[in-house]
């Protein structure tokens, strides 16, 4: 029988992990995150350079796909959720720095106590009847998005003994092309759990890791109301050149 993994075991594995790809994305083979062990391909990816590839275009969303309430996670129930009210806003850009316009941004998160509204989440922290933790919006002509929500709590998971995830908001993003698809997590500045977390540290480059951390932005805080965070997102991957003027 194997001994349960401790934080010290994970810390050692993180120190010894080889550097990830130059893009800054995580290597899919990242053993300190144990769930990755059987879920990453071992064969190399096959490179596709076809200018007619369907993946150089992508799904389109519009005003029928979102409602005004979607972007304010604090107003989706009769009462107000518990927690620290925040706004998170920023821009979605492609790797050439062009704004991603009119595209879908989706978020989901734990409540202020660190509990998800998911029946497989058995963390003994209270659910909040006034908080679901799901939001959507479309980016504007400058690629801007904005959400009002509450700051999520940290929560335990079973990667190893005493494993805790730093507070984070899950983000799902679409670009002009399917190749630019991104699902990621936004973290909060100064979280003391950063060094212990194998998911955040699957991004082995410190500068790339910092791109996952929002900035506290005092000018975005609203007096007597909410604290403001700014987080810009850059989507990777090529798009068909005819898409440049947007749709």
């Amino acid at each position: 029988m194997t001994q349960p993994l401790t934080q010290a075991d994970i810390d050692r594995e993180l120190r010894e992990a080889p550097a990830g790809p130059p893009s800054g994305h995580p290597d899919r083979d990242f053993a300190p995150y144990r769930s990755s062990v059987l879920r990453h391909p071992k064969q190399p990816l096959i490179s596709v350079k076809d200018p007619d590839a369907a993946e150089l275009s992508g799904p389109v969303f519009g005003v029928t796909d979102v409602t005004a309430l979607d972007a304010d996670l604090t107003r989706q129930h009769p009462g107000e959720p518990l927690g620290e009210r925040i706004t998170v806003q920023g821009r979605v850009l492609d790797r050439d720095g062009r704004p991603v316009r009119g595209q879908l941004v989706e978020v989901w998160q734990a409540n202020a106590s660190g509990r998800y509204r998911h029946q497989r989440d058995d963390h003994p922290a209270p659910l909040d009847p006034n908080f679901t933790g799901v939001g959507r919006c479309l980016t504007d002509d400058e690629g801007r998005y904005a959400f009002t929500t509450i700051k999520p709590g940290a929560y335990p998971w079973r990667n190893h003994v005493n494993a805790w995830r730093p507070a984070h908001i899950h983000f799902s993003l679409f670009g002009a092309a399917f190749t630019q698809r991104l699902v990621t997590q936004m973290y909060f500045p100064g979280d003391p759990l950063f060094p212990y977390d194998p998911i955040l540290n699957s991004v082995t480059d410190e500068r790339a890791r910092q791109r996952l951390v929002a900035a506290y932005a005092h000018e975005l805080s609203q007096p007597e109301w909410s604290l403001g965070y700014r987080w810009d997102i850059v989507l990777d991957g090529p798009a068909a050149t005819w898409m440049e003027e947007g749709r």
Partner: protein, 178 residues
């Protein structure tokens, strides 16, 4: 600009990303509708019950039009009321069930393949693959012994099977678009 790194979709996306009718690209009455279905397996051959698959495809004529309205919403209560069934949105999203199984109801893509993006707990960066329904010159660029992993198996008229293996002897071919 330097890209924002990917992070896993995690185990708890289920109340946020999937939506009713996510796999119903074809209108229910469309006589040209086909069913594509399969399982997602891990490197031990076990089903993956917490994968999320996204599909992007051309319409029957081969056009990649990408109409909005996949997540069309009810203005009274905000619920998803589904595609209106006239425009083809080309986009689908299906979470695997407890058996690791998924089903898509769509039309045969006029350009020969459906693009698939795979997300899962344990997968730190999504993977792209394609579902082909017949021979295609593109398949000649794939190592011959792995080509079959991109080919749907026709089970009967209008029903096609496509399994995804994240790892192992049957590992599916995944793509890098650079």
């Amino acid at each position: 600009m330097n890209p924002t790194p990917s992070q896993t979709v995690g185990p708890f996306y289920g109340y946020a990303l999937p939506f009713p009718g996510g796999g119903d690209l074809a209108a229910p009455a469309d006589p040209a509708g086909i069913t594509v279905h399969g399982y997602v397996h891990d490197g031990a051959g076990d089903p993956v019950p917490d994968a999320l698959l996204e599909f992007w495809q051309a319409d029957a004529s081969g056009e990649l039009r990408g109409a909005p309205g996949t997540l069309r919403r009810d203005l009274v209560d905000g619920s998803v009321i589904g595609r209106h069934g006239v425009d083809f949105t080309g986009f689908g999203r299906v979470a695997t069930d407890a058996d690791g199984r998924w089903t898509l109801r769509t039309v045969m893509p006029g350009n020969g393949y459906i693009s698939v993006c795979v997300f899962a707990r344990g997968l730190l960066h999504h993977l792209f693959t394609r579902i082909y329904f017949g021979q295609d010159p593109f398949l000649d660029t794939v190592p011959p012994q792995r080509r079959h992993t991109l080919m749907a198996v026709r089970e009967r008229e209008g029903v096609h099977r496509f399994d995804i293996h994240l790892q192992g002897e049957k590992e599916t071919v995944f793509f890098d678009f650079g």
